[in-house]
Subunit: 221 residues, 2 copies
């Protein structure tokens, strides 16, 4: 149909309903996409996406316990080249804006047809923002209203200055005590910064922090 090579677009599907999840996955596969992975919740999504590095993540917002928004934030933070296309039952304005703020590249309501979905994934992979009719205007208006973020992108993961300081040293392989000495702090404070950074980025240990820092060039400067 379109001129894009769909076989090169790798996709991950995140949804807590197995039926819907597999249905979407089959649809996409039949349409030539490379469905590399599926995940039932946010935690798994974050973990698996880091391993699989799909081009596009189809993310349900309403994921039982873990929030799709948090997962979206973590994924776009960890994998700048991966696009997250939110597929949600609701078309709530607040949900849409939250998702976009978290780094989503598009927002589709689940009532969309299969052909709409295929088209949306293709366009998302190509870098176009995709929004269900009526929502594009909303997001655009909101952008204008904010007006203060000159060049945005998927929201630089909101680490505080101190957290960034600590992260840099963690990425060099220093212990909390060594960092504390360097920054003239208590090692407990350093550990707290590490903890809050782990939470914000949805990572689980210092090695993952180091990889994150390296991928984002936080360690060179």
């Amino acid at each position: 149909m379109t001129g894009v090579d769909k076989s090169k677009v790798s996709v991950m599907v995140v949804d807590d309903h197995p039926i819907w999840r597999d249905g979407v996955a089959r649809d996409l596969t039949e349409n030539g996409f490379d469905v590399r992975a599926t995940a039932p919740d946010g935690d798994a999504a974050v973990r698996i996406s880091r391993a699989v590095r799909p081009d596009v993540v189809l993310m349900d917002l309403n994921l039982g316990e873990t929030s799709g928004v948090d997962a979206t934030r973590a994924i776009t933070a960890a994998l700048p080249s991966t696009k997250v296309l939110v597929l949600s039952a609701s078309g709530e304005h607040s949900d849409v804006l939250e998702a976009v703020k978290a780094g989503a590249s598009g927002y589709l309501v689940k009532s969309a047809s299969a052909t709409e979905l295929v088209d949306a994934v293709l366009r998302t992979a190509a870098g176009d923002p995709v929004f269900t009719a009526g929502l594009a205007g909303l997001v655009l208006g909101e952008y204008r209203r904010m007006a203060d973020s000159p060049s945005e992108g998927p929201q630089p993961p909101q680490l505080t200055e101190r957290e960034t300081d600590v992260l840099r040293f963690v990425a060099k392989g220093m212990t909390a005590r060594q960092i504390a000495e360097k920054l003239v702090l208590s090692h407990r404070t350093v550990e707290n910064h590490v903890q809050s950074t782990l939470r914000k980025l949805q990572l689980h240990n210092r090695v993952e922090l180091a990889r994150y820092a390296i991928e984002h060039g936080l360690d060179e400067e």
Copy 2:
């Protein structure tokens, strides 16, 4: 004198005698080299060289407790583009061969004159192997005698297959228990492999291991 741009050659001086160390550093500076760092022992040398990434490391072999050979091995393993020029009081054949096996690009006895030193550092930076008269033949003969290492280079850091397996997973941020499950091992065994790898590469924790793995492409494959 020579046509090479000395101001571009960065050097680190490793020696446990402050007087000698500073004397050499001053000599080199006066001759236009960029002496970026000095270190009094092997541990500091390994640590600092990773941060500074000098073109040439002037390494004393006889460093109190820590061995200059070990430091040489660790530095050449971690920084393939950094050359280690050994500056030793002794001209012992076994010392020379050990140093070369550890990755040294050259070997100079300390009785060398300042001009010889300057010349040696320049040639080392240019990639030439530099040896005090009489030692070049020794090393060449030894190479021929070994004859079985087809293309050597600075000795690929001698990690065993299992250690490399474990390292790959460590670099992904997995704990010893997770790796143990993956490789069907006891977590104590995994920890032992981590330990021996740390020793061999003269690193001190998993974050440094991860950085090593990433720098050497061990994590992608």
